[in-house]
């Protein structure tokens, strides 16, 4: 059985720029910063849109659907007590150049196929809601 992640999760430090992202999962939605002028999603979050340099940026929810770009099964127990877990690199469906490094859950390594459709699920650690991804159920969100 493959684990959902390492035995112990190192966590992000909440700061004004990233707090929305790491707490977004409290209501089950994934959110990104989005330019209100050119409509590009911005990740990691920056004070201005890196595409058009507009300062009119706001947090918006996305579908939570993503496509698998690559993955690796981590075997070495960098963090003591860890069982093998799957690290995924996913691109959100709204904008393919917005990617997240994440864990793939609800599947075994043999089930993982590059390009497969995924959907977000959250794991809460203290005040952080980590976005993880599982196979999409096939129904439109």
């Amino acid at each position: 059985m493959t684990a959902d992640g390492p035995a112990f999760r190192l966590l992000p430090r909440l700061e004004p720029e990233n707090e929305f992202f790491w707490t977004s999962g409290a209501d089950g939605r994934l959110r990104f910063l989005r330019c209100q002028d050119c409509r590009s999603f911005i990740h990691p979050p920056y004070p201005r849109c890196p595409t058009c340099l507009s300062d009119d940026v706001a947090v918006e929810p996305v579908s939570g659907r993503a496509t698998l770009v690559s993955h690796t099964v981590n075997v070495h127990a960098w963090i003591p007590g860890s069982e093998p877990y799957i690290i995924g690199l996913v691109a959100i469906d709204e904008q393919e150049n917005v990617r997240l490094t994440t864990n793939l859950v609800g599947m075994e390594p043999n089930d993982v196929v590059t390009g497969m459709a995924l959907e977000v699920t959250f794991e809460q650690c203290d005040d952080i809601h980590l976005p993880l991804f599982r196979p999409a159920d096939g129904t439109p969100s």
């Binding site: 112990f8 190192l10 966590l11 992000p12 909440l14 990691p44 075997v75 070495h76 960098w78 490094t101």
Partner: protein, 408 residues
């Protein structure tokens, strides 16, 4: 080329030196650095009074234990150098940023003889424990730190080592290009074969494909033998103005061009092409600065902190087409000492030791000088190599160097 001569072409490597290299040497980083630096200065036919520049990567106490090496103020004071130019830091075109900065300083007339060093004591720092991830082992008693910057996007998911980040590149290459583990193995096997001919290499016992395929997995598809190992050692160079080259006791290695570009996003997971990353840009920018072409290169030292990186570099440097490095290395013959493009002739980092880029630059000079002994590359007609290419870095970190041999 229609533009002015690249400034770096005014520089030449006139002296090279290395400390003892090994696992768990138990010596301080400053001790190893002084050994390497004094060797390089003597090799250049100089004394410390001639040295007027000093540079290192990264210094400043950055990174995991044993990674940074001593700072330039420590080395300056330990050797009582009187400097007209000095520089250290970890941001720039790969580990060779220090060497590139030295070339530019010499070209600009800020210094005439720059001592450049890179020192690691990661093996001693690791002690008897196993290799740690970035951010430590977590879960220990006491407060656990939280992470900002790039690390916040990877560490929470257990992507705590560069091997995890680079494994994503390797897997993507399997998907896009049909790369196989048997092909990947050739990088490790070539390194081990060459290390067997290098008395200072760390891992010299023979290894075959079965050994590789039966090694324990670290982060799929990368196994133990796809990863370099923490080592102790220091490498130093003297970068001089080229007008000193005729007076140097050994053949100078002239700097023909450097590659410094980073045109994609500076990120392990947001770079536009996950099969290449910064190697693509650094190599391209080097070829834009020279009339030489990939076909002119006699020997290449390609960064192999992980085996997959050497394959990325083969393509980025133009030694084979995009996605074609797997077939290029498939039977091992093309990259062997007697192949069309010998690579990592001292064993690379995989078997020679993780000297973090500088060991590769050192070996390029050894080959151009014809000092390779049992591992010396001979080109057609038995001539020594005249052009050597070097690459440093992986992921969003990359720098390249093209060296040519001076008079014998």
């Amino acid at each position: 080329m229609s533009r002015d001569e690249p400034l770096e072409r005014r520089a030449a490597i006139t002296g090279i030196g290395q400390s003892a290299i090994g696992r768990h040497l138990g010596r301080s980083d400053l001790d190893l650095t002084i050994e390497a630096c004094l060797a390089a200065v003597a090799d250049a036919g100089l004394t410390r009074d001639d040295i007027d520049g000093l540079a290192t990567y990264p210094g400043m106490g950055t990174g995991t234990p044993g990674f940074a090496g001593p700072t330039t103020p420590e080395v300056q004071d330990a050797l009582r150098l009187s400097l007209d130019w000095h520089d250290g830091g970890g941001e720039g075109p790969g580990q060779m940023r220090a060497l590139i900065a030295a070339c530019l300083a010499v070209g600009a007339g800020l210094a005439r003889h720059v001592l450049v060093y890179r020192t690691v004591t990661e093996s001693t720092a690791q002690g008897s424990g196993s290799r740690q991830g970035i951010g430590g082992s977590g879960g220990e008693s006491g407060g656990v730190p939280r992470f900002s910057g790039f690390l916040q996007w990877t560490l929470p998911f257990g992507a705590v080592s560069a091997v995890n980040w680079i494994a994503l590149v390797a897997q993507r290459r399997m998907y896009e290009f049909g790369l196989t583990r048997d092909q990947l193995a050739q990088i490790a096997l070539n390194a081990r074969r060459n290390a067997g001919r290098n008395p200072t290499a760390i891992y010299r016992e023979p290894m075959d494909l079965d050994d590789y395929l039966s090694a324990r997995m670290i982060s799929t598809p990368l196994c133990l033998f796809d990863c370099d190992a923490p080592s102790d050692g220091s490498t130093a160079f003297v970068v001089s103005h080229r007008d000193y080259a005729p007076d140097a006791p050994r053949p100078a290695c002239h700097v023909n061009a450097v590659g410094t570009a980073l045109r994609g996003r500076p990120s392990w997971d947001q770079f536009d092409d996950m099969t290449t990353m910064a190697a693509r840009d650094a190599a391209a920018s080097m070829w834009e600065r020279t009339e030489l072409t990939p076909a002119d290169v006699d020997v290449a030292q390609l960064y192999d902190g992980f085996s997959i990186l050497a394959m990325v570099w083969l393509e980025a440097m133009g030694f084979c087409g995009r996605g074609e490095s797997g077939p290029f290395v498939a039977d091992g013959s093309a990259i062997a000492l007697d192949g069309v493009l010998p690579i990592n002739t001292a064993g690379g980092q995989l078997s020679g030791g993780r000297l973090h880029g500088f060991g590769l630059i050192h070996e390029a000079c050894v080959q151009l000088r014809g000092d390779g002994g049992d591992r010396q590359v001979a080109r057609a007609g038995g001539r020594a190599p005249e052009v050597a290419a070097v690459s440093n870095g992986g992921g969003p970190i990359a720098g390249t160097l093209l060296l040519t041999r001076g008079r014998d």
